[in-house]
């Protein structure tokens, strides 16, 4: 008997008697053919008391270097924002943590109203009229927009900016291969999507175009121009946006974007080594009935009370089966709750203030770091909270040196690039410390390279997951 089951030996005897079988074995023998029965115990460690499991998990946690343990400038899609205490409290409440999808709306008004409020907040943020109740996460949200476009216009050619998150590009490629769509990648020029190549890539067979704003190198894209280039094609314009940047960036709905998607983690969700978080998905009215995922809508009960239900379910799998708009059903309700509570906590003015603070501190950091010897800007475009550098030294080694000094300077990019991200948790003092540590690490590596035999590059194969490409 485990601590999560209640059936004592006495219970079991009486229950078997009620069922009319002599033993547990008989219950299973009657149903599972002997030939496919596992004739042994599972080869797994024996169970442990709660306190031992906790200690084991604490020990594993202790062998990770988290944002608690170093001054981290890692970004690239997920960011170490402060998560207010009230979010922890609300996400841990039984009433939000332990129900399932609101199939019975009469006893799910809390969750359904949260979805409705979340949809409203995302709609406000993106400037698009409709949003769903969330999808899995950022990169697969972009791929889901591709599937929508494929169904909407029947075309099979995607044009995607190389400024999109590399994981989003890869996810789109993986899913597009399944239904036979081609993916064309448009390179960057001076840190942003090359406008000439972008326009040239879009044709009458283009199903959707995808860009990210700010892009993966932190640069603000000219969303309006990118969207305008697709105006004469049937292509659905998909923009992937950092939701925190949307506090000060012109909303995609005002730039000609048809579908806005993105990674919701920056909104009140933990890093969690990559998930769970949520993806948001907003669109123009034209695509409402093609959207994936759950959507909450307002209605009335038989007594005339205001209430909320899951709606437009004829898009969904349990009704439409193979003709459903997507296979995404339940997604990330709890994480989306974190998102809408975070936006409420920031409030109308707070989201703008946060954006302005990031803008200023990022500019300061960029100025400090590009002033270092052996460090230059990878591009000069406007940035909001993240920027890219090029080092005159092997980047993996520089990062390792900085981490030894307690500072994680950012994400290694190909060709000695470094992507540096900020949140409101990184103060001027942290930035100054980064400048000192990075400057010293680059200098040491350059010095070492001066004495090393020519042609010695950085070690190959290091840190597959720590590299973006």
């Amino acid at each position: 008997m485990s601590r999560y089951t209640a059936a004592t030996d006495h219970d079991r005897r009486e229950m078997l008697a009620a069922i009319g079988v002599a033993s547990i074995e008989e219950l299973f023998d009657a149903q599972i053919p002997a030939a496919v029965r596992l004739g042994r115990e599972l080869e797994l460690p024996a169970g442990l008391p709660e306190q031992d499991v906790f200690e084991h998990l604490r020990e594993l946690a202790g062998r990770n270097t988290s944002a608690e343990d170093e001054i981290s400038f890692l970004g690239g899609g997920m960011y170490d924002h402060y998560v207010p205490a009230l979010i922890d409290m609300l996400m841990e409440r039984s009433e939000f943590l332990t129900p399932y999808t609101p199939y019975q709306p009469e006893v799910s008004q809390g969750g359904l109203q949260v979805m409705f409020e979340y949809q409203t907040a995302i709609s406000e943020l993106t400037g698009l009229p409709v949003a769903n109740a969330s999808v899995y996460e950022g990169p697969s949200a972009l791929a889901a927009a591709g599937w929508l476009a494929r169904q909407a216009n029947g075309r099979a050619r995607f044009v995607i900016s190389a400024g999109c998150h590399p994981h989003a590009i890869e996810t789109l490629r993986t899913t597009a291969h399944g239904y036979g769509a081609e993916v064309v990648e448009v390179p960057l020029r001076d840190g942003v999507t090359d406008p000439g190549e972008w326009a040239a890539a879009i044709d009458a067979e283009t199903s959707a175009v995808f860009f990210q704003n700010p892009n993966f190198l932190g640069a603000v894209e000219d969303a309006e121009a990118l969207a305008a280039a697709a105006k004469d094609s049937p292509a659905v314009v998909v923009g992937s946006y950092d939701p925190v940047a949307l506090g000060i960036l012109r909303p995609p709905g005002e730039c000609g974007v048809d579908i806005a998607v993105g990674e919701g983690q920056p909104l009140g969700n933990r890093l969690d080594f990559g998930g769970p978080s949520f993806g948001y998905f907003a669109a123009t009215e034209a695509y409402l009935r093609k959207m994936p995922g759950r959507i909450a809508g307002e209605t009335r009960d038989v007594d005339g009370r205001r209430g909320f239900v899951l709606t437009l379910q004829t898009r969904e799998q349990h009704i439409r089966r193979e003709k459903a708009t997507s296979n995404i059903c339940t997604a990330q309700a709890l994480n989306a709750l974190g998102g809408v509570v975070y936006l409420t906590w920031l409030g109308r003015r707070g989201l703008v203030e946060l954006g302005e603070l990031l803008l200023q501190r990022t500019a300061y950091a960029r100025e400090r770091l590009t002033a270092l010897d052996g460090v230059e800007a990878l591009h000069e475009q406007p940035v909001i909270r993240e920027f890219a550098l090029r080092l005159d030294a092997p980047v993996e080694r520089v990062i390792a040196r900085c981490q030894d000094a307690g500072v994680n300077p950012g994400l290694a990019l190909p060709d000695r690039g470094l992507l540096v991200a900020l949140t409101e948790r990184r103060t001027r003092a942290h930035i100054d410390r980064l400048a000192d540590v990075l400057g010293a690490a680059v200098a040491e590596e350059r010095e070492a390279a001066g004495t090393a035999p020519p042609g010695v590059a950085e070690p190959a194969g290091a840190a597959g997951g720590g590299r973006a490409a």
Partner: protein, 521 residues
């Protein structure tokens, strides 16, 4: 009161109940804001209120960092509330939810088992919760080891050695599995166009098949509730890429012909895919790999007790056989020769990625904690008691004399869940399965899954799980019997139920006809 952004905000002194609602005779006309408050967060607060205090600007202020043409002209119209108002709003909303921690939730096919709080505490440790997904592997050894150990454990439970934890949900795992199937056939130079799914399958199966570029072909059900073998033999040919099967299936029946099914599928060179929605029935008793399956997806949120969160997050890892291994998603977690762990992306035949980063790591911490808590014996016992509880509940319902009105749709015993048909009840008592479900809410129970699987008329799919006590099952059986008795004298009680919930039956048709999907300002 009218806000600066133009929309009306009811003050706390205004009546929060809609007029015209019937309330108790002694209910006051005005009530404290709280449980009955039907305003959204966008209708509360006042301009100038705030919960967030922005850190001070500690760097020299600069102008023109972001050109005006890229700037937002008006702030997004987010709510303006103080922290106490936010807390009260969401805590009061939470009280309008039914949840597993407060009551029985026998939602068939969803495995609503107890969610240990240990898992939440462990996942919240900063070493897990604040670990950045781009942290270099040498600084994420604990996380990678946890993932590696979870992969080995899931592989052992499924009887399939190679695992990818990446998919974010069951449906996402399905997509991974069917894309792997495609990669496998393409690698062999074969073009196959169809995927077989039983008619009782979860709706996500056919939806996934379409997204992976295949045509869905339905396979029939035999009178015992298993796959119709003749139908399968007729439809299985060289154009079939795979068969997706849930075993036990959505009727709660373990298909006794599973070996023959596997032989038929493999004989035409197709892949056998296991939808792990019902894995909670067989842990330690039987393994999909031993039944002949090539690919399995797990639902960590079901079998391995990830809290369901009101509709996510989930997690849908897959386990595969040797021949499917080259196509698994990247990155893969590997154990290096020096005993350390790494992430590798170098896999030329891989289908690629299906999402960002390494998957829903927070769910891995919880699933791993669960497996370590229970161990081999405890996991097997979980399935044992899940099956025992389901059969006991079925027996109790029979004892209560409800079997005439709510007969078991197929078979005599069941695995971890069972399907009743409400067709006789509807005919004889004039209450539908929906009415029974709604009336159960008044008794304090969450109803079972209703109207699924589609092949059973007026279906009720009941899955009690192993973490419920015998006393709870007794009370549930008695509640069903009571509702049927009540309907004999007055069917309207059920037909107009629920009566005691925060709202009563909602007009879903109106919601779909003229959708209101956001707060209007």
């Amino acid at each position: 009161m009218t806000r600066s952004n133009g929309h009306h905000v009811a003050t706390d002194n205004e009546l929060h109940r809609d007029p015209g609602i019937e309330v108790h005779a002694h209910a006051p006309a005005k009530v404290a804001p709280g449980k009955d408050d039907q305003r959204t967060v966008f209708e509360k607060g006042a301009p100038g209120r705030r919960a967030f205090v922005c850190p001070a600007l500690d760097v020299p202020a600069r102008d023109g960092l972001l050109p005006d043409r890229f700037r937002r002209s008006e702030p997004a119209r987010l709510p303006e509330l103080s922290e106490p108002e936010i807390v009260r709003h969401y805590v009061n909303l939470s009280k309008r939810n039914f949840d597993l921690d407060s009551g029985f939730y026998p939602l068939g096919s969803c495995t609503m088992k107890h969610n240990p709080r240990l898992h939440e505490r462990a996942a919240a440790l900063p070493g897990h919760a604040r670990l950045h997904p781009f942290q270099r592997p040498e600084h994420a050894q604990g996380a990678l080891e946890l993932m590696w150990r979870l992969e080995r454990s899931l592989g052992e439970i499924a009887g399939l050695p190679h695992v990818s934890l990446q998919p974010s949900a069951g449906s996402h795992g399905e997509l991974a599995g069917v894309l792997l199937t495609r990669a496998y056939h393409e690698d062999r130079g074969e073009t196959r166009t169809k995927v077989l799914t039983p008619e009782a399958a979860h709706g996500t199966n056919p939806a996934t098949v379409t997204m992976a570029g295949y045509d869905v072909v339905k396979v029939g059900t035999n009178p015992d509730g298993g796959v119709d073998l003749d139908d399968l033999r007729e439809k299985a040919d060289e154009s079939v890429a795979c068969l997706m099967l849930t075993n036990p299936n959505t009727l709660g029946i373990f298909d006794p012909n599973i070996e023959e099914i596997a032989r038929i599928v493999h004989d035409v060179g197709a892949i056998l895919y296991y939808d792990g929605a019902n894995l909670n029935a067989v842990m330690g008793w039987a393994r999909p790999g031993d039944m002949g399956f090539d690919i399995v997806h797990f639902n960590l949120h079901k079998t391995f007790t990830q809290p369901h969160g009101g509709g996510g997050p989930g997690s849908g890892p897959i386990a595969v056989s040797d021949r499917m291994e080259p196509y698994l998603m990247v990155p893969r977690v590997v154990r290096r020769e020096d005993g350390g762990f790494d992430l590798v992306e170098d896999a030329p035949k891989s289908i690629g990625r299906l999402r960002g980063f390494q998957g829903n790591y927070g769910t891995f911490v919880r699933a791993y904690a669960y497996i370590r808590s229970l161990g081999a014996e405890g996991l097997k016992d979980a399935s044992t008691v899940a099956v025992l509880n389901a059969n006991y509940l079925l027996a109790r319902l029979r004892e209560q004399g409800v079997a005439d009105r709510l007969p078991l749709a197929y078979g005599k015993l069941c695995m971890h869940e069972f399907v009743l048909s409400g067709a006789p009840m509807k005919r004889e008592l004039q209450i539908k399965t929906l009415d029974l479900a709604k009336r159960l809410l008044d008794f304090g129970f969450h109803p079972p899954t209703v109207y699924f699987p589609l092949i059973v008329d007026e279906a009720l799919l009941v899955e009690p799980t192993e973490t419920e006590t015998r006393e709870t099952l007794d009370a549930f059986a008695e509640a069903i019997a009571e509702i049927l008795r009540e309907a004999e004298s007055d069917p309207d009680v059920a037909r107009t139920a629920p009566h005691t919930t925060p709202v009563r039956r909602l007009d879903e048709a109106a919601a779909a006809k003229k959708p209101v999907l956001r707060q209007s300002f």
